[in-house]
Amino acid sequence: MRKHLNVILAYTIMLGLIIFVGIFQSWNVALSIFNMCLISAVMTMGANIQWGYAGLINFGLMGYAALGGLAAVLISVDPVQEAWVAGGFSILMALWLIIAMIFIVRFILKHFQKSKFRTYGIALIIISGIIIIKVTTQSSIEAIENVNPATTGFLGGLGLPIMFSWIVGAFFAAGLAFIVGKVALGLRADYLAIATLLISEIVIAIIKHEDWLTRGVKNVIGLKRPAPYEVELQTKEWFVNLVARFNSSKLDVISSISDKQAALNQLVIEGSSVFVKLCYSGLFLIVVVILLIFTQKALYSPWGRMMRAIRDNEEAANAMGKNVVKQHLLIFILGSAIVGLAGAMLVTQDGLFTPGSYQPMRYTFLIWVMVIVGGSGNNFGAILGGFVVWFLWIEAAPIALFLINIFTSGLDDAHVLKVHLIESIPYFRYLMMGIGLLLIMRYRPKGILPEKIEIK
């Protein structure tokens, strides 16, 4: 009990803060912060597996999250029949061509000696393949994009429940991680960081501009939901009764029946959105708990010990007969898959997919701040980091306003400096994150909850 005292204390404070927001701001805000905290926690767990367990630096988190979001679109949106008629065939042919190309390249790699000739041959095959695909698909892509451009203009998805996309998103991200890992994992740590960052930018560029697949910057809105809709909920009798029972003490005070009805209606509207958010919280909580159990088990398994050995001394681990390259690739894929899962969860919660919103600042660097602040190598720490940093990210504006008002209390309300500072409140969150990160790295380099390995 005492060993875990700091973990329990940290989580109690965190939950207390969220409840505090619920009481003083509103439960809606508190729950949406809580849900985003859970999603961030899943992302940090992915990054933590790579960085904390294996010491691999992955600045491409944004790309995996976006692929997860893409999976949500491709799984849940209904297929657009006209678009498939207009250009589906040649898209499928192009897909076959790509698969054929991959097999040819693999064949060459296996059966020919390494030489300049082979390298140029492979480059030639890839370039000519790309040109052939571009020429053959151009007209059908235009045809697809011209099908009802205001509402569809893309191939659509499979029309399955969106929950499937969580798994598919993880697989998408794992696939990308396999390619990236094969290409980049041999690089030194800081090169790897830059390479993954740039690859994720390429992924985003493709998602943003291939309108036939993703609708690009036109966004996909109104995705299916695993949770009930607020409007439907408000008409259900059981829900109205539930709200009435919860707020009976408040309602009993009101004497006139019409006033009571109006108050109840207001409460039902508020309650419905809280209820929907609670549904999401439940789903996300299940994911977080399952992942936590698995990652904790992995951390204390022989495999986890081997990963730490590789992290702490690659050469020694190699000398002991551990396949460092293979294990690095495996853990890179696992971590990225978790980030992809989180990306799908995020799009599921928002109900929309906006490729333009994927910024490295928000989806890569902020997640890294969470991992470092929380405590790399410790799953509880990583989750806590997700909670703390996201909470501060959202609540930075009120805190900054409060601080500005204190420091400028001597100034007139219309003073230029005060007005300017209050206008730039949204940017104080960057300042807070930066200073927080610098302080943690300097004075508590292992994070709030440091890695603690016990030999059992």
Binding site: V183, A189, Y191, M361, W368, S424, Y427, G434, L437
Partner: protein, 336 residues
């Protein structure tokens, strides 16, 4: 005649913009490479430090404009740059003293320093946005064109016009002067040589009595000059927006690595490699082929290899190919 027209077309739409953009990237890439070579970490705050310098250039430009000082045909910003450089160097030395120095003396691994630079990136970004707000700003004043497209057509009687923007010429001129001074400094002066020695082998340099504090300080001073001038030139040529500067960090990194990280000359050329390939691969060559091919063979499509949306993706792909086949970069990295 058609052939001349085609050449002018390429000069106007590919060569001049790429040369100017390449110079701006080159300055940033030398900044990255110097920090990497001497302080031994990848500085993720590059783009934001450039934005920081540009912000002060703009503030001083506004100040000079308000008191009525101007340089006539030249932009007022030229007058403001020295003041901005001083403030940027001051900021960088301050950051170094309070942030990077601790990790340097503790001999932390480069990855940790890179992480710390992310913290600096957040803080710098916040400072820039709080002081000048994230809006898009143009601060070029003075004569905009040296030759206008219309005048050029009249002068030569060609169909295609060649417009030479003064900001482009200014960029190229300043870059040449600055980079040649820098190379002279690194190769000929005693201080420059000590910096190269420090970059090659830290322990040996310390043994031969080189003062590491001085080397680090001079590195930050050069970095401040490069960041401010590079950023200000980019802002003069295009416009100043903190977000674009943050994004420019990525092609700058690409340029530094393609040229061989730690090698300033490589970084200089890397900037042009990135800029030219970005513009070459995304330019629509339809008009060019209309000039040089006979009328019967004229292309129907735009003859564009990649859409301009993939501009950044081009430079990143080049970087990845280079990392795969020549991890040291085109010009062997890590010599300085």
């Amino acid at each position: 005649m058609d052939f001349l027209n085609a050449i002018i077309l390429l000069l106007n739409y590919i060569f001049m913009p790429a040369l100017a953009y390449g110079s701006q990237l080159a300055l940033g890439a030398i900044f990255v490479t110097l920090i990497y070579g001497i302080l031994r970490f990848a500085n993720f705050a590059t783009g934001d430090m450039m934005a920081f310098g540009t912000m002060f250039t703009i503030l001083f430009t506004w100040y000079f404009q308000s008191i009525g000082i101007s340089l006539g045909v030249l932009p007022t910003a030229l007058l403001a740059i020295p003041f901005a450089i001083v403030l940027t160097i001051f900021y960088m030395l301050l950051v170094d003293k309070f942030v990077f120095k601790y990790y340097r003396t503790n001999k932390s691994p480069p990855v940790q320093l890179a992480m710390v630079s992310i913290g600096v990136m957040f803080v710098t970004q916040a400072i820039v946005r709080i002081i000048i707000s994230p809006a898009d700003r143009r601060f070029y004043d003075g004569e905009r064109f040296i030759i206008k497209a219309g005048e050029f057509k009249e002068m030569t009687g060609l169909n295609e016009g060649l417009a030479i923007k003064s900001s482009q010429v200014l960029t190229i001129f300043v870059t040449i002067v600055l980079v040649s001074t820098l190379f002279w400094f690194l190769n000929k002066t005693k201080t420059g040589k000590s910096m190269r020695a420090y970059s090659d082998n830290e322990d040996l340099a310390l043994l031969s009595g080189i003062d590491p504090k001085r080397v680090v300080m001079i590195t930050w001073i050069i970095a401040g000059i490069l960041a401010t001038i590079g950023g200000a030139l980019y802002g003069l040529d295009k416009s100043f927006k903190p977000f674009t500067y943050f994004n420019n960090m990525l092609p700058i990194f690409a340029a530094a690595i393609v040229g061989g990280i730690g090698n300033p000359f490589g970084a200089f050329l890397g900037g042009y490699v990135i800029a030219f390939s970005e513009i070459f691969l995304t330019y629509a060559y339809k008009k060019f082929f209309m000039y040089i091919l006979p009328a019967s063979m004229e292309p129907e499509s735009l003859v564009q290899l990649l859409s301009t949306d993939y501009k950044f993706a081009v430079s990143f792909s080049i970087l990845i190919i280079v990392l795969l086949y020549r991890p040291n970069g085109i010009f062997k990295g890590k010599v300085l």
